[in-house]
């Protein structure tokens, strides 16, 4: 995997294309908490060679569009924008992919709490020790931050 600074992103992908990597397999975003990693996978059909190019977005979540290098990048750039809150610089398709509204934080960021996980009563919260005898610690579902826990100490029925 080739690690490049974000400033070199578009130039590196253009170099890949010029080296015969004719297919953009995919671009993926990964939330590393401290930064967002963006990885592009390119393939060369003549000899089935694959190359991965990665960059990291630290405080400033902006990356250059590479749609002029690989037209197929458009879908993945829309995904990065919608799911990770990454801003795409340069001419690109701004239409949303899956979201019907602009409401809410980018849903693939780890910091984003999914409403359904908060609003749906977690079956793991129920406990025979609700009679307080066993005095077990109440638990919280994965993906629901502590300050999101709405606990009235009673049942959810």
């Amino acid at each position: 995997m080739k690690q490049v600074p974000v400033e070199a992103w578009a130039a590196e992908l253009a170099a890949c294309r010029d080296a015969g990597y004719d297919v953009l397999d995919m671009i993926a975003g990964v939330d590393r908490s401290e930064w967002i990693e963006v990885i592009a996978s390119v393939m060369r059909t003549s000899d089935a060679a694959c190359e991965l190019v990665a960059t990291r977005l630290d405080s400033d979540h902006v990356i250059a569009s590479i749609t002029d290098v690989y037209a197929g990048a458009s879908w993945y750039e829309r995904e990065l924008a919608e799911m990770f809150g990454v801003r795409i610089a340069g001419a690109h398709d701004e239409r949303p992919l899956l979201r019907r509204t602009d409401e809410g934080a980018p849903i693939l960021l780890k910091s984003t709490v999914l409403g359904a996980r908060v609003l749906t009563p977690w079956p793991g919260d129920a406990d025979a020790s609700d009679d307080a005898k066993a005095n077990r610690r109440r638990q919280r579902a994965v993906g629901v931050a502590e300050d999101w826990l709405v606990s009235d100490g009673g049942s959810h029925e």
């Binding site: 992919l97 899956l98 979201r99 019907r100 809410g104 849903i107 999914l114 409403g115 359904a116 996980r117 749906t120 993906g143």
Partner: protein, 133 residues
């Protein structure tokens, strides 16, 4: 709009259905597996009692209007089968704000086939339920 394909189902005598396969995610691979295994046999011009809309895979809110359009375009009598956890309830994506919590919120479902994915045999069992009903 894609037209329905006709199949005969050797495991269910007398069943010949016109299936419009709406494969939206990985579950749709199992439809192909059912055909490869000979459980579902493509047939030309088989008279079908009912047009069956087979919804397999994750239905996003963005995709739901397309599913509804496919349903509305299907001639009567028509019936719909929900295939797999995603189409049934949202499945593994139950907590995603972009995913429908079951295709039955959009179109009337007659048979729900459980599985993630359901096995090809489960598809045949589900289609047989249409007959028994």
């Amino acid at each position: 709009m894609t037209s329905a394909r006709h199949y005969s189902v050797p495991g269910v005598p007398g069943l010949a259905v016109g299936v419009l396969d709406l494969g939206l995610a990985c579950c749709s691979m199992e439809i192909g597996a059912a055909i490869t295994a000979g459980l579902l046999v493509p047939a030309d011009n088989t008279p079908s009692e009912a047009a069956v809309l087979l919804v397999s895979g994750t239905v996003t809110d963005a995709m739901a209007p397309a599913v509804l359009a496919a349903w509305n375009a299907l001639p009567e009598p028509r019936r719909a089968v929900s295939f797999g956890a995603c189409a049934n309830t949202g499945g593994p994506y139950w907590d995603a704000p972009t995913v429908l919590k079951g295709i039955d919120q959009v179109i009337p479902i007659e048979v729900y086939v459980p599985g993630c994915p359901p096995r090809p045999e489960a598809l045949i069992a589900g289609l047989a339920e249409l007959v028994i009903r």
